[in-house]
Symmetry: C2
Subunit: 129 residues, 2 copies
Amino acid sequence: MNIGDVSARTGLPAKTIRYYEDIDLIKPLRDDNGYRRFRDQDVHKLNFLGRARALGFTIEDCRTLLALYEDETRASADVKRVARDHLAQIEAKIADLNAMRDTLSHLIDACAGDDRPDCPILKDLGGKG
Amino acid sequence: MNIGDVSARTGLPAKTIRYYEDIDLIKPLRDDNGYRRFRDQDVHKLNFLGRARALGFTIEDCRTLLALYEDETRASADVKRVARDHLAQIEAKIADLNAMRDTLSHLIDACAGDDRPDCPILKDLGGKG
DNA sequence: CTTGACCTTCCCGTGACTGGAACCCCCATT
DNA sequence: AATGGGGGTTCCAGTCACGGGAAGGTCAAG
């Protein structure tokens, strides 16, 4: 399979697939003409990576998870730790964003949004002054 | 005031302040020795920027907001539109993160987290296979 | 006169790609 | 044989909002 087929199958852009090879996440073979030749295992890994990335894992997490995936003697505790750490990051980010949303939506509610210059949003950003 | 004092007052790293000058958000004066000299208005702008950035506005949004802030004839509708667009982005991001969190926490709950290799997290990432 | 805390500019690195240029390969049609 | 089009390849630059660190100028204190 060439990169275009793999891209269609995995939903990953060809650019991304090349990038993943570049950083040694996958190691497709090469045809004589220099084209990458992907085996089923490569496609499988790419699907794995796509799902992990969709869950927000960093590339380095993905590398770790992929190694665990391929290691038949892994301990599920190691996987769980990676996932829990990541979950904590996500929850922290959600908390930050919720705080922003609350502040912002209050300000927006307070703003008339008409053609007059008076604006509580700018007032707040300017330091109530 | 030199950059160190301004940094202490605004809570912004000196690097950030220099960067903001670089991209023309602020225009401090210069002393004969080449040191930046900050006026009260510069500090005020930096505080504005710090608060806007803390609410997650992009630098370009900040540029827009600052221009509106300085324009006495602005319409509050323009400010409100910027804020509402940004709020929408935040809410989209929150929705994404919530979905990730839900999926992840289910997987984590299902994972024994012991020394055995069997792991629903990897099973899911690998495509249930 | 030296120390040490400031300040300056400049360049590289971050994460995870994306866009684009310049070029090669292969098949089909004119 | 030439051409066209749709693959593929590499490499370089850009994204966003800075942060790290080098190399060097400036200034007040001891």
